[in-house]
């Protein structure tokens, strides 16, 4: 067993995903099967191999610091689930 139901709950909390008991059970089995498949990666010798994050060589990209047209505040707020005046309205963070 690669993964337990307890661990599925821990990971779900890290990912901020509420799961139903049925989802927990289903995911425990499915993640276990998928993670077992990932064990094939133990076979190749990677001891002296560098990890690859990007396939194309990248250099740091600098740009000029200048003002460009961006969507205006009203346009951005138009998509807000809740707003008040020109602010996003969010649940209380500090009691």
């Amino acid at each position: 067993m690669k993964i337990t139901r307890e661990e599925v709950r821990r990971v779900a909390l890290l990912a901020r995903l509420q799961l139903t008991p049925e989802e927990e059970e289903l995911l425990t089995g499915q993640l276990d099967a998928i993670l077992s498949y990932m064990e094939t990666l133990d076979r190749p010798d990677t001891e002296k191999v560098e990890p690859l994050a990007h396939a194309v060589d990248l250099v740091n990209a600098f740009r000029e610091d200048r003002v460009v047209h961006e969507p205006q505040a009203e346009e951005l707020l138009a998509n807000a689930p809740a707003k008040e005046n020109s602010f996003f309205k969010v649940p209380k963070i500090i009691e």
Binding site: I3, L52, A53, V56, E70, K92
Partner: protein
């Protein structure tokens, strides 16, 4: 022939000669959509009014003579992953709610600046996660060749729209095969360019080190024209690369004499459908008759690609999708405090495959597992890239089947995520190595379903891929077959 059935280059020629108008073509395409989309469900949203407005403007421009951009008046469909100003953009997810973007992403801006008429947004797997378009939160798209079968995915709506003449051309995105696999399943041409060739700005992010925008078209010439329109460095995407964009369409005719074509032995293995293997081998023989030299190459780490991909892609996805928290846009579930708002919003907003991948990615990145999974996968990714570097010292392009089988039945693989993942076995390595890859039709199986072959090229060498694909297309008739609808 009806206007909607034209290829992009045929249409562009007719428009510039003023034999037809963009309004006529656009009306014809919307007529085709009205007649077929209740069966196929390629589209999530149509922009009829603005499209006709754009078509009228294109006609004005064409009438006034002078220089018109290359796609002027051409009706094009966009996968619903593209941020499109004033058009609802869902990524086929409920979590985006009624999101209407206030800007255009770069690929959309460029396609509009090239004169294209935007028809609407096509269906996809939610957040591009899937290989069948069954993971859309809204509707299942059907394969125009057999409506009991999937069109492939994740760009399944764009693929079926092109195959069914519901657009002249389309844009898709490809993270592990999401352009090439549906192109193969629907019998069209689909190209995933080199990582960095096309800007990702305004493309809803799935796995940022793998995602790439590309054309889905009726033939190879159209593919070259669409790539020219969207390729190039963009200051808004720091991973886009400043390599000159060749005039791809004018370089198609060079022929293939003297090119070396690599056949990787690891891609012709037991388990692939016999008709797929035969069609691709026949295609290689045909190219050989036209003057290519066939060499055997080896990509020994191919067997690890699916495992590497499903760690790296899910890890990047779990991080990218953290932004869907119900605060600034999209869906928000009612709840009593902040944490519960996050947890319920994401529970109700994401579908099962997205949740599965967020869980897998979060697990792979979590304390205690990072080295065993994510770091290990990145190291094997290096080995996969090196395989290609070694192979490309012996050849100019590599040819493989695009998919191990033709399109499968709706529902056939939904219960077994791992089986679904394995349908991308031939396309995934290309994304991991950042290479360009194209799928084009090379035959049909006994059920009348299209077969695709994949041509993989060196970094930023889309021109050679397109040249080989064009030579093959000129020698065959597969791309002229149309599904009966």
């Amino acid at each position: 022939m009806s206007h909607y059935a034209l290829t992009l280059h045929e249409l562009a020629a007719k428009l510039s000669r003023r034999e037809i108008s963009s309004v006529e073509v656009t009306e014809s395409v919307f007529g085709r959509i009205a007649a077929t989309d209740e069966r196929l469900h390629s589209y999530l949203a149509l922009c009829r009014e603005s499209a006709l407005q754009e078509a009228r403007q294109a006609d004005e421009r064409l009438k006034s003579g002078g220089d018109c951009p290359p796609l002027t008046g051409v009706p094009v469909a966009l996968k619903d992953i593209f941020i499109t100003r004033n058009v609802p953009t869902t990524c086929a997810s409920k979590i985006l709610g009624n999101f209407v973007p206030p800007y255009d992403g770069t690929a959309v801006r460029k396609i509009k600046e090239s004169g294209a008429v935007i028809l609407g947004k096509t269906n996809m797997d939610e957040f591009a996660m899937g290989s069948s378009t069954e993971n859309s939160a809204f509707v299942v798209t059907r394969n125009p060749w057999d409506t009991e079968r999937v069109p492939g995915g994740s760009s399944g709506g764009s693929a079926s729209a092109v195959a069914a003449d519901q657009c002249i051309a389309a844009l898709g995105t490809d993270t592990g095969g999401s352009i090439r696999q549906p192109a193969a399943c629907c019998g069209i041409v689909g190209l995933k360019p080199t990582y960095g060739r096309v800007s990702r700005y305004g493309v809803i992010a799935f796995a940022s080190s793998l995602d790439q925008v590309g054309p889905m078209t009726k033939d190879v010439t159209d593919c070259a024209l669409m790539l020219e329109a969207v390729a190039g460095k963009d200051p808004c995407d720091s991973t886009s690369v400043d390599v000159p964009v060749p005039a791809y369409a004018s370089q198609l005719h060079g022929g293939v004499k003297g090119l070396r074509l690599g056949m990787p032995k690891e891609y012709f293995i037991p388990g692939i459908q016999a008709e797929v293997e035969k069609s691709v081998k026949d295609a290689i023989r045909l190219l050989e008759k036209n003057g290519v030299e066939v060499v055997e190459v080896s990509l020994p780490h191919s067997e690890y690609a699916v495992a590497v991909y499903y760690i790296i892609a899910t890890a990047e996805a779990s991080s990218n999708l953290a932004r869907y928290d119900g605060m600034k846009y999209g869906y928000r579930a009612p709840a009593k405090d902040l944490t519960e708002t996050y947890m319920r919003t994401r529970q109700e907003g994401f579908g099962p495959e997205v949740k599965r991948r967020i869980m897998l990615g979060t697990y792979a990145l979590s304390a205690g597992y990072y080295d065993a999974y994510y770091l290990k996968a990145q190291k094997v990714r290096t080995l996969i890239k090196r395989d290609f570097e070694a192979a490309f010292r012996k050849c100019d392009v590599i040819i493989t089947p695009t998919t191990p089988t033709t399109a499968f039945k709706i529902g056939e693989k939904t219960q077994d995520p791992l089986q679904m993942y394995l349908s991308d076995i031939f396309t995934i390595s290309v994304n991991l190595a950042g290479l360009p890859g194209l799928s084009l039709p090379c035959g049909f199986d006994g059920n009348g379903l299209p077969i695709g072959m994949q041509i993989i090229g060196k970094h930023f060498d889309e021109a050679t891929i397109l040249r080989v694909a064009y030579a093959y297309e000129q020698a065959t008739e597969w791309h002229k077959r149309k599904p009966k609808l």
